[in-house]
Each structure stands twice: as structure tokens, then as C-alpha cells.
Symmetry: C2
Subunit: 289 residues, 2 copies
């Protein structure tokens, strides 16, 4: 198990803004910090992050970028916020780190994310557990648990949240200014747990962000067969989900949801009681961005 620091830093700060009446008003806004990752003293990347769990973020980043394949390869992650640096010490170095970080995919996330290497090629090999299912009642509990969660979003807005669930039991909730940072942080945390507990087939991944190709790929890489979002889905996200066997649920609110792919993984045990009116124009409108 690698040695990790537990660097702490405030997640929000209070600022004075001028409102529409020309009057000053105090509000909280989320932090956004530059964290430069060094692997064996070589600069790898600078992540802009809220700063809640920098060590897990760095681990998850290395894992999801496929730069490190086993946790045993990492001796330590040392985060020092005074200099905005995360120093990763490996046991044997990273093979072909130059080649692995050479090609760039600037993804859509919401920004231009960056995936090193040929993640899309890996998609070809991914196949999620066939039998995993989720009950609609559990899905409703997942959405409700997120809704009730105390969060930086509630106090300061402008962050994305992700939740890892076992069935409808929340295991970890992470927020970050970047939604890919949030999912990387979850991947890092999962790596640190007992592998027997962290098999993917009983897990559900919740994200406030849209289900783009990169988000779907990251969920599938964690071996999680069901992903839930309150947002919608893109065409390439859908294509990847269909291919790897991922059940993607979007527009999920307390009662409503749209299952974009592999609906056979959902058990409809809690359909709303009132039959729905005819599908109208307004059903085509998104609930959230």
C-alpha cells in the first residue's frame, strides 16, 4: 500500500460580489487550484482541482490514463499545497512514459479533456459483467441520496459531483471543479480498498455531468455496469455504452429517468403509479444542461 499524505485545504472561499442592485453581497465560491504532478521528479501534468482529495485524484489519474497498472508500483504520493505539487514516487519507474503521454485526445467532458494513449482502442476489449442489474427503486434511492448529500455545490455552486454506490448504498461522494477529476478521485479511492469489495458488478456510478464518450469509458474501465446522471448523453457516449454493455441512465430525477442503453439491466419494480400522458413536445426538452 503506498504511503499517502492527507493534504488539507479549504474547498470554498467567501468573496464579495456586486448584485443586480449595485449592492455588495457576500457569497461562497469553490476553490480551484493548480496541482502539478511529478512522477519520479519528472513533471507529468498540471491538474486544476478543488483540492478535496488530491492524493486519490493523483492515483486515479495515473490509473485511468493507464500510466500505472498496479498500486504496488507506487511507493508514495506526497502533496504539498504550499507549492501546488504532488510528488509520486514509483518503485520501478513507469515504462515508456514518453510514448504513453505523447498522443492526445482532447475530449469534450465539458472542456477539452485529455486522454493519453489510445483509450478508444481499449474500449474494444472492455466487456462489463453480463448479469448485473439494478432495481428502479434502488435507482430512485441513488438519486435521492445525492439530492440530500451535503455538498460544496450547495454552498458554492460551480462544481460537479460523483458518487460511487453499492446497489443504493453510497460508498463515496466526491466533488471537483472538473468532473473528470471527480471520477478519477473515485478510481483512486477504489484502488486503495480491498479488491474483493471493489469488484464492479454490484456498483453504480452517479455523475452530475453529461454522459460523454470519456465519462462512459471511465465508468467502463472501473468495471461498473450502471451509470446514472441527472444530465443527458451524447451520441458517442451512447455508442460506447452500447458496445461495452453499460446501462446508461440519464435525466434522472426523483421520479423520472431515461435509460439510453442496455435497459435489460434495469428491473422496473417502482414505476410511477400514474400513467403518463401522451409524449409531447416538452418531453424533448432537457431538464438540465
Amino acid at each position: 500500500m503506498p504511503h499517502l499524505t492527507a493534504a488539507q485545504v479549504p474547498l470554498t472561499c467567501d468573496v464579495t460580489v456586486i448584485n443586480e442592485f449595485g449592492q455588495p453581497q457576500r457569497i461562497a465560491i469553490p476553490a480551484e487550484r493548480a496541482l502539478t504532478v511529478y512522477v519520479d521528479k519528472r513533471e507529468l501534468v498540471t491538474l486544476m482541482t478543488l483540492g478535496g482529495h488530491p492524493e486519490w485524484l493523483v492515483l486515479g489519474y495515473l490509473r485511468n490514463q493507464r500510466l500505472v497498472t498496479s498500486l504496488d508500483d507506487i511507493e508514495s504520493v506526497t502533496v504539498d499545497w504550499d507549492v501546488g505539487a504532488a510528488a509520486v514516487k514509483t518503485r520501478h519507474g513507469i515504462d515508456e512514459i514518453e510514448a504513453k503521454t505523447a498522443s492526445k485526445v482532447v475530449t469534450t467532458g465539458c472542456g477539452q479533456g485529455s486522454m493519453f494513449g489510445s483509450l478508444m482502442a481499449e474500449v474494444e476489449r472492455l466487456q462489463l459483467p453480463v448479469k448485473a442489474t439494478l432495481r428502479q427503486s434502488q435507482l430512485q434511492n441513488v438519486v435521492n441520496t445525492i439530492r440530500l448529500q451535503d455538498s460544496t455545490y450547495k454552498s458554492a455552486g460551480s462544481v460537479h459531483g460523483c458518487g460511487l454506490f453499492r446497489g443504493d448504498e453510497l460508498l463515496l461522494f466526491v466533488e471537483d471543479v472538473g468532473r473528470h477529476n471527480a471520477v478519477d478521485t473515485i478510481a483512486g479511492w477504489m484502488w486503495l480498498q480491498d479488491p474483493a469489495q471493489m469488484r464492479g458488478d454490484d456498483k453504480v456510478f452517479y455523475t452530475t455531468g453529461r454522459l460523454t464518450s470519456e465519462m462512459v469509458i471511465k465508468s467502463a474501465q472501473m468495471g461498473i455496469p450502471v451509470v446514472v446522471s441527472r444530465s443527458g448523453m451524447t451520441q458517442m457516449g451512447l455508442a460506447v455504452a452500447q458496445q461495452v454493455g453499460l446501462c446508461a441512465v440519464g435525466r434522472a430525477t426523483h421520479r423520472r429517468m431515461l435509460c439510453f442503453s442496455h435497459p435489460e439491466r434495469l428491473v422496473f419494480d417502482a414505476m410511477p403509479p400514474v400513467p403518463r400522458r401522451e409524449v409531447s413536445e416538452s418531453d424533448m426538452q432537457p431538464a438540465v444542461a
Copy 2:
């Protein structure tokens, strides 16, 4: 002026989803396409995009990444959706392209955006026109114009929009699955216009996305002194805005808004008529993510 193709491609597709009643439902979702950019036959980057204006996107990407400093250096941009490629032909090559694309900043946008080189160093040198102002009534018109705009967001959701305004006159509205792609597309389009018309000081930049550091930097690089968002702002976005002289307005709706920085650029000519109640807990809640 470079030769550009005008590659067209559908921006949405209709898919069948399963709703909360277990019934099939047809909805539209936005496209998301991989566009690999080659500069003088050398692979540079793959952008995941909606595909509305790929040639402007590529121009703006090269401009905002500071890989090309003058439009005269570009002979042509040829987009071929059949192979998902944008071929850029330069007149004299790009100096030090290896060095310029070597260091990575994975930003938060909403995802992990990527900025090559040391954009932050450039921020030190940016200073926006001192005298530029915007009237609150114009600000309200900007928000209203965006609200009434016909859009992929309205039909399919899951995209970000950006608008370039002269005062409150909309010059260009762009949507993309990635908000950084949307702003890059605007930067590319601006490059192609008469430079005398494209000075920044009378412009306003609107984005549906949050005002993170990268978004603020890109606005400032375009020389635009006022940026408006319906979303909020991060701490580093605010720090950069304060430094470069950018008036950042967030949480902008028909009547409401919060000015995060440089309120001296706003002329309060249209304050809402009803004095506001005491600031309560709920004012701290964000309107949108």
C-alpha cells in the same frame, strides 16, 4: 485568407430510450465526433466536437493554444468527416511545435482541458482596455437574446453555448459538446473577420459554462473586457479576472446577476424596481451548476 472547407454534418440524432414507465420514447441527442487535427501532415490532437463549424474550431484551437500567431501563416484547413480529419496546411510550418505542445495543463473547464505551453505566464502580460463598459440594460438584452436563441441545447440538451456580442448585438452563437470548443470556434471566426471590426473593447462574451480560470484566460486573450455566464465562478477564475481587468458577471438571468470582478465596467442603468429583501440563506444557493 486561408482556404477553408465548409464541412457539414448533422448536429443531433434521434434515438429510442426507455422511460421511467418502461416504455420506449424517441428523443434527440447531440452528436459527438472525433476530429483529428493534422498540421502539415503531422498529427497534433483529437478534438471531440459537435461538428457545427469544424474549420473555425481548428483555427481557434491553433490560435488559442498559441501555436499560430497570424492567420497569414495558414494556407488551408480541409475537414473531411468521412475520415474524421482536419488537415491544416501552413505556409512556413510551425516553429518549435514539439516544444510548444510538450507541457500540459489539464484544466477544469468541466473536464480536464488541455492547454499547451505556459498560458499562465501569458496572463501576466494581458491587460484589457481600461475604459470599456457595459450598461446593465444591455446585459439584460444579452441574456434575453441567448434565451430566445434557437439551439441544439433546446432540441437535444447536453451542449454548451457561447455567444459573441457587440454591445448587446449578437454576432455569433456557437454550441459544442465541449464549452472550450465553443469558445475556440468563436476565436477562429473572429480571426477571419475584418480586424477593425474585431477589436475586443466593444465586445461581450457569453458562455453557458462556469467561469473557471481557463475560460477567463481565453476571454482575455480575445481582448474582450466583459464576460457573462449564467453559471458561477471559481476562485482561480476570479483571481485571473481581477488581475487582467476582466468584468466577470455570473448567475446572469433575466433580472438577476452577480458581478464578480471589476464592477466599474458596469453602468447600473436598469436596476430592478423592487428593493430587495434581506440577503437570506437561499441567496447563497447557486441557480445553476
